[in-house]
């Protein structure tokens, strides 16, 4: 009986811990709206770039516009394929048991880490395609040459963005590595059985 008295005492002390959940619903609603705006933003980007390039190709009836539209849609398809392959079997339902959730979270974290390499390759392909397209679309290309084009002031921002993204990718890979290490430690502690 001693144990039950102790448990009863602990339960009273535990439930005395104050927490007021009254403002929680408003915060959840605010966060839900923000998430909805983010999803709408992603769809809008696909519509603007994918749809815009197609519309331009159809209206202008120009070969370079058609090449650009094909390139944009090829990259959209590649991005979705990579995303699908990396997520396959790694969706961690939040309602799974804790043990199952941890296993899937570790798998998902590994995949997200691996995806940085694939995303980097995709980025290089997109930049390569875009720069090639811009170079050949310029009427003054013959006068300047490729080296002058790549080092010109109007292209400098591409290298700036590339550098910033490379730094972000390295940081993200390290952060995911640490998260993976924590998840593995948690799995080791929690185990199963």
């Amino acid at each position: 009986m001693q144990a039950d008295v102790e448990l009863g005492l602990w339960q009273r002390q535990w439930r005395a811990e104050p927490y007021d959940p009254s403002a929680l619903k408003q915060r959840v609603e605010r966060e839900t709206r923000a998430m909805r705006r983010f999803v709408i933003g992603e769809i809008a980007v696909t519509i603007v770039f994918g749809g815009g390039s197609l519309a331009w190709a159809a209206l202008s009836v120009r070969t370079d516009a058609l090449v650009l539209a094909l390139g944009v849609w090829a990259f959209i398809a590649m991005a979705w394929t990579i995303s699908f392959l990396l997520r396959r079997g790694a969706w961690a339902p939040v309602t799974a048991t804790t043990t199952a959730f941890l296993e899937l979270s570790i798998l998902r974290c590994r995949r997200r880490r691996e995806s940085i390499g694939a995303q980097s390759v995709l980025y290089v392909l997109i930049v390569g395609f875009d720069l090639t397209w811009i170079y050949f679309a310029r009427p003054s290309r013959a006068a300047h040459g490729i080296a002058a084009f790549l080092t010109s002031g109007e292209i400098a921002w591409v290298w700036g963005v590339t550098l910033a993204l490379a730094v972000f990718a390295v940081w993200q890979k390290r952060r995911l590595g640490r998260e993976l290490e924590m998840l593995t430690r948690l799995q080791r502690q929690i185990g199963g059985g």
Binding site: Q13, E17, P21, K25, V28, T95, S105
Partner: protein, 177 residues
């Protein structure tokens, strides 16, 4: 809530969500506190948990009790939060020292102080023990705890015995301090 999830309108889901927060909001706050070390961190985690519950409600098919469903989500979100923020983990079964939350060891502790002391002790338990102990403190049975965590009832019993022993020693050392 007797209608199937597919039939629930947004208004019904919102009402159900309100009911769940009213019934379990405090428990979710306590659970979040057991994983975190500051009030701000606790608030962030409770919000993450509530958001995950809101997202999962339309998919609830009644294969377990509402309470089991909620605590699964809460513990899963909490573990993901701990991993992402790299919050400190008690690594082994060795009992760490606990800071005394009482200003005067001679004075009788108020229930709030005792609650804080208990929370501080639970925060210092390794996660595997803290989980079963907090679920036990919420009044869950072995079977319910096993359903939340995905471990056997035998394992729940073993972890509870060890967890309670560690908690007892932590509280004793804090009270003696």
């Amino acid at each position: 809530m007797t209608s199937s999830p597919r039939e629930r309108t947004r208004a019904e889901l919102e009402r159900w969500f309100d009911e769940l927060l009213a019934a379990y909001g405090s428990a979710l706050g306590r659970l979040a506190a057991s994983y975190t070390r500051s009030a701000a961190e606790q608030e962030d985690l409770v919000q993450e948990i509530a958001l995950a519950i809101w997202g999962a409600l339309p998919h609830f098919r009644g294969e377990c009790s509402e309470r089991t469903f909620l605590f699964r989500i809460a513990h899963n979100r909490a573990l993901a939060h701990v991993a992402r923020r790299r919050l400190p983990l008690a690594e082994s079964d060795a009992i760490p020292e606990i800071e005394d939350a009482t200003p005067d060891p001679e004075a009788a502790l108020s229930s709030e102080q005792e609650g804080r002391l208990l929370m501080a002790a639970i925060q210092r338990l390794p996660v595997a023990y803290a989980q079963v102990v907090t679920l036990m403190l919420e009044g869950m049975t072995y079977q319910e705890i096993a359903e939340v965590l995905g471990i056997s009832e035998t394992n729940v019993g073993a972890r509870l015995t060890r967890g309670r022993d560690m908690l007892r020693r932590l509280l004793r050392s804090a009270n003696a301090g």
